[in-house]
């Protein structure tokens, strides 16, 4: 259960980035979470409420954009999206691939803010 440390990093990054923008309040934060990032949305949501308490993010919403794994298949010379994380084979030709192009992301995409006009 390292999701609490993950959301604490989110809170630190967002509050620091917003500090100089005259931000009154953060309304929502959008996170991109890859299927191989090792974090679980439920645990993130649970930790988010605790970690945002007493900050400009208190009461804000956490939106999680789940990203599937995308591999590069050398045989097909193309990218392929995988349905799950139980098999790393090209869904078209079945060739195994260790060339992961998407799925490890754990990043803050955007923040919806309210600022003084």
């Amino acid at each position: 259960m390292h999701e609490l440390s993950i959301v604490q990093s989110v809170v630190t990054t967002v509050t620091e980035a917003m500090a100089e923008r005259g931000v009154v309040r953060v309304q929502s934060v959008r996170l991109r979470v890859g299927a191989l990032s090792g974090v679980v949305e439920g645990a993130l949501q649970f930790g988010y409420e605790i970690a945002t308490e007493g900050t400009i993010m208190e009461g804000s919403r956490l939106e999680v954009v789940a990203l599937p794994v995308v591999i590069y298949c050398g045989t097909c010379s193309s990218l392929a999206e995988l349905e799950g994380v139980q098999s790393f084979r090209c869904p078209t030709c079945g060739t195994p691939s260790g060339d992961i192009r998407q799925g490890r992301e754990l990043e803050i995409e955007s923040v919806e803010i309210e600022e003084a006009a």
């Binding site: 980035a17 309304q27 191989l36 994380v85 754990l106 309210e114």
Partner: protein
Amino acid sequence: MSTARIVELRKGVLKKNDELAAGLRTRFEDAGVLALNLVSSPGTGKTAFLERTLRQLRMVGERPAALVGDLETDNDARRLAVSGAPVRQINTHGRCHLEAEMIGHHLEGWRLDDYDYLFIENVGNLVCPSSYDLGEAIRIALLSVTEGEDKPLKYPSIFNSADIAIITKIDLAEVCEFDRELACNNLREIRPDIAIFETSAKTGAGFPEWLSFLVGEKERKQAAGVVSP
């Protein structure tokens, strides 16, 4: 009056850790140190595996060092220190994984040029350590024959991020009715190009292959690097 708008941030949540890890990686490369991050469940036998690895490397004149992470106690560091290699314990006091900052902190006072290998034994956990880069060149996931062949399928994030899989306690394979082929197939299903070593820290089985791989990797790394010892 206030207005709402969306601000693009595009920032990695673990950016700070990733930056520290990148700094460590450069330091290891400059010093010609092969850094390895060992992850597994509690009880897989990381410490026994490492004890034998350190001892045998030293017997052939190699210069390993180790950092060992645990929530509490310095039991593992004391076990590993018997090998004669420099060892330091990292206590995370409840944290379920090691972070790059802890590695940097615990390397203080060590001259990296004095070592060929730095083994980092992570906290026993197959979930959380997968997100944290420690600056290692090689990530090793260990699983024991007592844990079942489907471990890689249950913890795909960590096994997919591993360069090497070590199957431990291979001397117990028969009693546990461990299906080697199935385990290896499962590993390759999750990480097709993974290198697999079957070992026993008790009997020494698989260690000649493992040690010769290590020495080869170190030599390759030092030949490619700027500095050699």
